[in-house]
């Protein structure tokens, strides 16, 4: 299912990667930030929304990384180059990510920033919406968000253009360790 997901997600303009452990994931994110020139000094920074991943990886270990902050306010998110957040499920047949985003910082980090890095447990890939709906329940999650590729519009002359109100890039990182399943 990973391969199907990847093909579909890439098809709608997302970038898909996979790592084994949480520390691999941290490494991936940090080298990405570096590559994108995210540093405090230049006023270019990233916000990382609190969630299961940070709990598992240990937020403390990331303290002191230049350009990386964990306080997600609307102002910081709106100015941030990169937003990092968790997504719980990946839906293989449409290439979509799904998460309970009732906490507003999860939404801010994934909706206002220029690039969204989504961390997903590899074990949580489901085949389709029917399988997904067996696992989500609006009674427990007040804001269930589906994200499928980056923000897009075709409102001017039907020309597909990426990134109007939401992120221009969606980078999906599957983490095997989070969901237990081995590669």
């Amino acid at each position: 299912m990973y391969e199907q997901f990847k093909a579909r997600a890439v098809g709608v303009g997302a970038e898909v990667h996979r790592v084994g452990t949480c520390s691999d994931a941290v490494e991936f994110v940090l080298s990405f930030l570096k590559q994108e020139g995210v540093t405090d000094t230049a006023g270019s920074y990233a916000v990382w929304a609190k969630g299961p991943f940070l709990e598992a990886a240990g937020q403390e270990s990331l303290a002191g990384i230049p350009g990386l902050g964990f306080e997600v306010t609307r102002e910081r998110a709106a100015q941030a180059k990169v937003g990092i957040s968790d997504m719980s499920f990946a839906v293989a047949d449409t290439g979509s990510l799904v998460q309970d985003q009732a906490a507003p910082d999860q939404r801010l980090a994934s909706a206002l920033t220029g690039i969204h890095i989504a961390l997903v447990p590899s074990a949580n890939i489901v085949a389709d919406k029917a399988a997904l709906f067996a696992r989500i329940n609006p009674k427990n999650s007040r804001y269930i968000a589906f994200i499928t590729g980056p923000s897009r519009t075709a409102d001017i002359e039907r020309v597909l253009t990426i990134g109007v109100h939401g992120p221009e890039r969606l980078i999906i990182l599957f983490v095997d360790e989070l969901g237990g399943e081995k590669k």
Binding site: T73, R107, S141, R142, Y143, T148, R158, V159, G163, H165
Partner: protein, 711 residues
Amino acid sequence: MKQEFKASIKRALNDANLTGALGKFSEAYKVNRTKAYEGIDFEELRGRIAEAKSAAACHLDEVAETFRKNAEALGAKVFLTSDPEEVKQYILKVARDNGVKNVVKSKSMATEEIHLNKALVEQGISVAETDLGEWIIQLAGQTPSHMVMPAIHMTKEEVADIFSKEVNERLDTDIPRLVKVARNELRPKFLEADMGISGGNIAVAETGSIVLVTNEGNARLVTTLPRIHVALIGVEKLVEKFETVVPILDALPRSATAQLLTSYVSIITGPTQNDDGSTKELHIILMDNQRTQMAKDPKFKQALQCIRCGSCLNVCPIFRLVGGHVFGKVYTGGIGTILTAWFDELKKSEEIQGLCIQCGNCTQVCPGKLDIPEMIMEIRRRLVLEKGQPLVQKAIFSVVNNRKLFHGMLRAASVAGKPFTSGKFIRHLPLFLSELTDGRSLPAIAEKPFRDLYAGIQQPKGKEKAVFYAGCLIDFAYPETGVALVKLLNKAGIEVVFPEEQTCCGAPALYSGAYEVAAQNAADNITALLEQDAQYVVSACPTCTVALAHDFAKTLEAVGRTEWLDKAKQLAEKTVDLATLVKHLVDEGRLSFQEGAELGKITYHDSCHLKRTLKVSEQPRELLQQAGYQVEEMFECDMCCGMGGSYSMKLPEISAPILKRKLKNIKETGAPLVAMDCPGCVLQISGGFDQDGAAVRVKHTAELLAERLKD
């Protein structure tokens, strides 16, 4: 039709950008949609949607009440009203109570329906549409021209002009750059707004959830950043169960934009927290505005199954020519005609309802299973009931209801028309009669109608009998098609009976909303056609076949002549189109064609009624192949040719470009011959080639097949 309306059609047709953009889009859409639905059983999917939505529509009150209870238990405020005025007052009050100065909106047709922006602006509240297309038309001071792509009618040059004014800087037409400008301009508006207003694509009673579907991500911001969220939702968006979200999400993006899923889907269930830790104020307004009335109307209840995907517009041959500013008000196209008649008023749909050519393309793709042309016919009928038939039409139809007089006039026309006829120019009968009164050129009526020729054909006497229903066109203009039909059936040993008392099938009257006339035609024909005890009633005109097999019963029922229903049913059961019957005879080995012939390329035009109402498309192709032709498919083979009976006379400016496109598609196959199974299409397309000058022969399939019969 009013001058003004005609002028708006003309403007739209002359707008090269509009027709170009819509034309190109509709071509690409067809291909992309097919791809998006690959591996999906569309019939099954839309069956589920239609069933779930129809179930909710059956007891809207209860479902809305359940929704209210569940959403309120979570802390949302729910307001239910039937009155658009109350909706506006409610929103204005919320705004006043909270000192709201700035509103950001995510796309919502319901707010367009009640002209909410105007009401807000009048109270000094600034309103920004944030969907890019909506923002463009807001800045331009226009209304949306398509439900899903509101600014599809505008060029990048126009958008660049509008944005340049907004940012006070000369912008060029680079689209990604223009999109960036929109992002930068709207960002501060999102961050400053005190109130976010959204629509809702689905409202789930069981859980009190609303579902929002967007690509741009503006709905996520509208429902996240402002401390107040107001969702205005038409009650037709209600479904009972959460599980119904699945089929709707499966169909909506695929149908709307040929995407597997939109970039963003949000399922909001009760208020969430704001980013400052306070709880969001969530107001959900369930708006009725005639929808309950609609649900109670057996003819229009199905309209509540609409999921507003806009795919009916994308495939509509008329919409793609004239666009949304002619074809609709707030809601556009065929579905827009219906919604205008209800949400606005019946009278407002008077002109736009005439734009529908009844081709049925929309019904084929509609994920809500709406029969749009049928509902538009019903609107026509009600308009006629309310206003009465125009006098000229009344005069014509009184002739049509008197068979002897009617046929007498047709015969007279053959003589009277002779000096003026060039080639075989003719208009759909019996509407040509109105031309008689206009003093316009007369149609070519055959010297001898089929009914006279029939008398000279010796019939085999066997066990099997078929009653031939000719219809006016074959009887009086294309008798050769009738002769071919007789030859085919006789060859299989079937005796063809031709009841003289048969008359017009009533389609012209029916499609004009003159149901009483059509019902009388139905009754006369039922009597004439059932008199003989035959196995089949066969026709070579799909419009007539549809009349016999589907419309008679419906029409008679509509005017309350229920004593005829049993007989109408009997007739319907026996009725068959020629292609289906001949195919059946060939398969049984009772008919065969000369062997070894290679007749070269032919292309086939699907007639609307045959393909979509009667669902016959393979049979004629297979028969032509068996007869020795090589079928070369044309682009958009099943797109309407623009005939539509009286349509081509009332709206020639629309009918003509549709025909032109058809001729082009035919020519591009390189086939010297085009076959079809409807005399109306033969009339339109051969008339077109007559003017076009291309050497393409136009034939009814029956004639081509009859020529190739084995001796």
